[in-house]
Symmetry: C2
Subunit: 156 residues, 2 copies
DNA sequence: TATTGTTATACTCTATAACTATA
DNA sequence: TATAGTTATAGAGTATAACAATA
């Protein structure tokens, strides 16, 4: 005789967040794949759009990615013609990373992936439920020390 | 001049789910570490508690884990004295995997990790908000084809 | 011929340390 | 002495294929 389940995992917010979080992360990654980039490239480009010409070290601190990994990311972005390493005006050890025009086109396409995922995910929800859910999740993120816009999955 | 951000990532349910999902998954994994097991061991033990004596193949199908990986998981669980491989009554190719008494103790301890994580995560939320959030997330999981209790992160 | 469990192999990722050139 | 970027190396993890025993 099987033991009675004390409380199903799907009655836990923590479990549902993990389940939905990995599901959406995989879908986002799959949606980005045709664009030839991964979530970390997207994150890096996005941070550069906020403030162009940052050093690799600054990007690392913002995104929580190790500097050794950032070398490869910028290599790949440079190879794809999306960013350019230039001389840093203030520190000759550092590289200043700048977005190239192609990056803006790509970011626009990535934005459509984000929007498509969002609307498909919430397709069964009306406006009121969407607003309630968004607000609760924002509060939950804030009360658990999560930085807005910074995805913990990028660092591991 | 930096471009205006079209819509912050943290205004997307999809992003918040990813952020919160990875955050809680890492916290859960860390909470389980002192018990000497990982999330996949936990999932396997949990499925066995529902129905003891399953074959490895059945466990794989339920959890979405490849059978090559399951070999190692059951090896580790057996080494830790948590499960036992016995002869399968109906199929001489298969092993029937059974929980040992130590597994029930460990599952009880793991349950405390789950409960502790849940209450800490929601510490700033009152009962009404918790209920609302739980219900919305359950609906979201259901409308997006997620099986109750099955974590997509276990398979990758 | 297909399936269960297992093993071997190669491939990808990650973590650590070390190196260089600057500060 | 410390920091930015880079490189090398080893370890973990993953995916693929192949194998023996059995269906």
């Amino acid at each position: 005789m099987p033991e009675a389940d004390p409380t199903p995992l799907s009655d836990h917010v923590a479990f549902l967040l993990g389940q939905l979080g990995f599901h959406t992360a995989y879908r986002f990654s799959d949606g980005l794949a045709p664009l030839g980039i991964g979530p970390r490239h997207f994150g890096t480009l996005r941070v550069l759009r906020e403030h162009d010409g940052q050093s690799q070290q600054q990007l690392c601190e913002t995104l929580g990615i190790h500097r050794n990994v950032m070398v490869g990311l910028v290599d790949e972005l440079e190879k794809r013609g999306l960013v350019e390493r230039r001389k840093h005006p203030a520190d000759r050890r550092a590289h200043a990373v700048y977005l190239l025009p192609a990056a803006h086109d790509l970011l626009a396409r990535a934005q459509r992936v984000v929007d498509g995922l969002e609307s498909d995910l919430l397709r069964e929800f009306d406006a009121a439920d969407r607003a309630t859910l968004l607000q609760l999740l924002q509060r939950l993120a804030a009360t658990n020390g999560l930085e807005p816009g910074i995805h913990p999955g990028l660092s591991r």
